[in-house]
Amino acid sequence: MNRPHRLNRGPVVHSVVAAAVADPSRLQAWTVNPSGLTQLDVDPAELDLEAVADFAGLAEKIRHNGCRHQLRMTFQLLNQSGLEIQLFRDYAPHSLRRRQRGLKSPLQRVDGLAEFIGRWSRGDPLRSLIRDVLLHEQALMLMHAADTDRPQRCSRARPMRQPVPAPNGVLVVRTLTCDPRQVQQVLQTPPADLADIRRGRWTFVYHKTIEQLRMLEVEQAVGHLLTVVDGRRSVDRMSEQLFGNSSETPALMPLLDQLVAIGLLRWLDNESPSRCT
């Protein structure tokens, strides 16, 4: 039996709105080709698909409520910058794919958002600020979640032959266009003015051992060096990786010694790399 042709029947309208909110690809298809709505007996002129996409952004934002505790500054910046709905609307299709893969824990949600916001922020100073604050808060989340039950009491003495530096505990390095400590000060001083946030280049090391969790500001080159410390490469190999040859090894040694001295690194014995010297 043919169903009666009547535009905008309630059940169909609800089905269309729900499908558009739940499935970004459907929403995109109707945006490109509004006649798809006409075929469903919904008048495309009566449905603002841009607004529906924003509403899907709200729903996506609410899915991240469980991360608000860890992403306080990120959410505050998003809200204050007026980019909250925009970000989550743009992220919704990617988020759906991740949820379909079962990636729903708070850390997984933040990882997905951080991955996405890297592309989303490219070339835009305000979005880059939000990205970097998110990367800072993600690093703190990683620190809190990290397992640190490995032996921490290592000698600070460098082995004589082929020394291998390793992270002492868990290390994450972030080079950011803002100083999150200053961002926090600005946000905590009402009325917060985002124009007061200083921009530039800062490198931070987030470090967790069984005894402590800390964030250290370091020179960018030090941050770069730390990113190639993996507990497997010798200092010669690190030099090759960073400079193309091992001639810088003598210059790296004292720097690495300093990083060992402040507890960020430890020396491994290359003969038995799993053991501290």
Binding site: V13, A19, L40, E46, A51, F55, Q86
Partner: protein, 300 residues
């Protein structure tokens, strides 16, 4: 007596080891409460008598039954987003039984449910065997005679499952719904009148709706049957992407308090709930000041 009228007032209970129930008494002042979220436990630890009750969504209890432990400390009001009262897809029987069970357990005096939908039929193109589309957030329904009739049928069915009233909360409207033949105030008024149902006035939703849809706030309020408002919700709102949005992490705007003042001679709610359940933290002093302000404003 109508099935949804003649509520008493919620009075505060003392802490104890047992589940506390909302105590109805005939005094005139509204109780003041908070929607259950991260700020509630720390606030109650420090100021155990600062609110008269905590409102918890059924969905939160279902997802994390341990959240109901708060009922040992303080009376609980049950809220709900699952019954799709203004929708065309009924909720599963098991869900209704679960809601009824928790309602009985908490002895909530009513269940606040959204005048909205959260489930919808699949599109025809998805085939006969496709499951309904389930949203994670309630959506504003089509504002039409067809939906009003459906709300009536849904309420008839739902009321068979509960010994307490369902009250309906106005949705925030973010965009026009195709096929709508009336504005939100008329829709709410007609639903309430025709199906004899009391209301949960979400002041912030109402502000959002009137602003987004270009309606005059006070004229719109004139159309509402405010005498049927049993509970009031207050939360924050924010302007994003050219529209106003519900924001339970933001403070109640001054406009919401001003609106409540403007209609205060027409409403006598039994409960006023602050919804800060998205906020990871808020300054205690700020929350306490707002609780005190509403008690003073509405005569508690």
């Amino acid at each position: 007596m109508s099935p949804n009228s003649s509520f008493g007032c919620i009075s505060s209970c003392r802490r104890g080891a047992e589940v506390r129930h909302v105590d109805l008494s005939p005094s005139g002042s509204p109780a003041v409460g908070l929607a259950y979220g991260p700020i509630v436990d720390p606030l109650l630890d420090r100021y155990p008598d600062c609110v008269d009750y905590v409102e918890i969504p059924f969905e939160q209890i279902r997802h994390r039954p341990s959240s109901l432990a708060i009922a040992e400390q303080i009376p609980v009001l049950l809220h709900c987003s699952t019954m799709s009262v203004a929708g065309f897809v009924p909720p599963p029987l098991g869900t209704l039984e679960a809601i009824a069970g928790i309602a009985a357990q908490t002895r909530t005096p009513w269940i606040g449910e959204h005048l909205a939908f959260i489930s919808a039929d699949p599109l025809e193109s998805d085939g006969d065997s496709a499951a309904p589309t389930e949203l994670t957030y309630t959506a504003c329904p089509q504002l039409s005679e067809e939906t009003i009739e459906r709300v009536g049928a849904n309420l008839d069915r739902l009321r068979q499952h509960f010994t307490i009233p369902i009250i309906l909360e106005n949705s925030p409207q973010y965009f026009a719904i195709p096929g709508s033949t009336m504005q939100m105030p008329s829709f709410i008024a007609e639903v309430s009148r025709r199906w004899n149902v009391d209301l949960l006035l979400d002041v912030t939703h109402f502000l959002i709706t009137t602003r987004n849809m270009g309606l005059d706030l006070l004229n719109s309020a004139q159309q509402l049957p405010l005498e049927r408002v049993v509970e009031v919700h207050l939360s924050g709102m924010s302007m994003q992407s050219g529209r106003w949005w519900d924001d339970h992490a933001a403070l109640v705007p001054e406009a919401a308090f001003e609106f409540l003042t403007a209609i205060s001679d027409r409403i006598q709610p039994k409960a006023v709930t602050f919804e800060y359940n998205w906020a990871p933290e808020l300054p205690h002093r700020t929350v306490l000041d707002q609780l005190a302000r509403i008690r003073q404003m509405l005569g508690s």
